[in-house]
């Protein structure tokens, strides 16, 4: 089980695709080792759909919902983060096969 702290990886402001890229690559790398991931957003002050699209939504290119349910846990999400992430996941599932 790998714990990835977003604050340490890309800082407190995660509002663009730029911050999402390293997070995506780190999760993808852990998955390729068959590790599960706890993604910790503690200390993150700002997120956006762009960040979640890049960091989480891209995972749907290679992994399905069942795999992600088993292997990815996201902790310390604020209600605002959850609201935005939920929209990003809706879109990711909808466009899964186009990615």
């Amino acid at each position: 089980m790998a714990t990835l702290k977003v604050l340490d990886m890309v800082g407190a402001y995660c509002a663009t695709y730029k911050e999402g890229g390293p997070v995506f690559r780190a999760i993808d790398k852990a998955f390729s080792r068959d590790d599960s991931v706890v993604l910790d957003l503690k200390g993150v002050l700002l997120t956006s759909s762009a960040f979640f699209n890049e960091s989480i939504g891209q995972l749907y290119r290679d992994y399905d919902s069942a795999f992600l349910k088993d292997h990815l846990k996201i902790v310390n999400l604020t209600p605002r983060d959850s609201f935005v992430l939920a929209r990003s996941l809706e879109a990711a599932k909808k466009h899964q096969y186009a990615l």
């Binding site: 759909s49 762009a50 349910k69 959850s82 939920a86 996941l89 990615l99």
Partner: protein
């Protein structure tokens, strides 16, 4: 040779009020050199009107034209412009306007991309002005402004970036956020990738409901969720209005959508949010169950 752009008395949120002045703006050519902005008769102005005023002035100054300023005679309007930092954005020198150096103040602001300091400042300023809890305002600003600013930066090709203006109206129980750019609009951005799009309003509708994005097609990555985030947030909390070129799209508080074609062309995109302060206070952000 001087062209005059006359602001009508009512610079409210109704886009039709700007038809004639935008037609005058679109007709301006470089050889005209000087443009007069005649605001003398303006007796009412809201954030959308201020964004249009600022956007057009900045655009003309950027093109190298001189802009002559004819101030509003109405004292309340003049005070509003001061309160919204219009005269920090534009300096009046004699009869002419100059682009002012950037300030750290909030109120009217031009942005070309995300400015975290500004996002923080405008949230604090609105919390103070709206008397809403700080967390509610931070959520409102972070969710809506961040998504629109990202959209402008990523898609609009706006030569001015965007202007943002916000205001709380206590008597009307409203918080208004307005963002205006002078970019290419939704249809021009999306049409090369979605041949089925027929009109500007169709392009707005598809982007707002289904998250169409040109970049998702080019980069084969997940893009274009921002507008649907704003649409979901504003449902139950207020109205969302999007104007882009000839397209007019609106979602009311109950989620009902109205759309129509304008008979004229807005030279960019406007996103106007009119949120109920009481709804913001009452409703928790509970539409966010994360399901993989």
């Amino acid at each position: 040779m001087e062209t005059t752009i006359v602001f009508l008395p009512n610079a409210s949120s109704d886009v039709e009020n700007y038809k004639s002045l935008i037609a005058a703006y679109c007709g301006i050519r470089e050889h005209q050199k000087t443009v007069a902005f005649d605001c003398a008769q303006m007796s009412f102005i809201q954030p959308f009107g201020l964004n249009i005023l600022a956007g057009l002035i900045y655009s003309l100054l950027k093109r190298g034209l001189s802009v002559r300023w004819i101030a509003p005679e109405n004292k309340e309007v003049l005070e509003y412009l001061y309160d919204q930092r219009f005269f920090e954005e534009f300096k009046v020198q004699g009869k002419y306007l100059r682009s002012a150096p950037r300030t750290t103040s909030v109120g009217l602001k031009r942005l070309e991309g995300l400015d975290y300091g500004y996002i923080k400042d405008i949230a604090a300023w609105l919390a103070n002005n709206s008397k809403l809890p700080g967390q509610v305002i931070r959520d409102t600003v972070d969710i809506n402004l961040v998504e629109v600013i990202n959209n402008v930066k990523d898609h609009s090709k706006s030569p001015i970036g965007c202007y943002i203006c916000a205001q709380a109206y206590h008597k009307k129980d409203q918080l208004i956020l307005s963002i205006v750019d002078l970019g290419v609009g939704f249809l021009q951005t999306l049409k090369p990738f979605y041949k089925e799009l027929k009109s500007d309003v169709d392009a707005i509708h598809q982007a707002a409901l289904h998250g169409l994005s040109s970049k998702s097609q080019v980069e084969k990555r997940l893009r274009g969720v921002g507008l649907s985030v704003i649409r979901r947030f504003s449902k139950k909390r207020g109205t969302l209005e999007i104007i882009s070129s000839t397209g007019y799209w609106k979602q009311d508080k109950q989620g009902r959508i109205t759309k129509r074609e304008l008979t004229w062309t807005f030279p960019g995109t406007a996103v106007n949010l009119c949120l109920d302060i009481s709804a913001l206070r009452r409703l928790e952000l509970n539409e966010g169950e994360v399901v993989f």
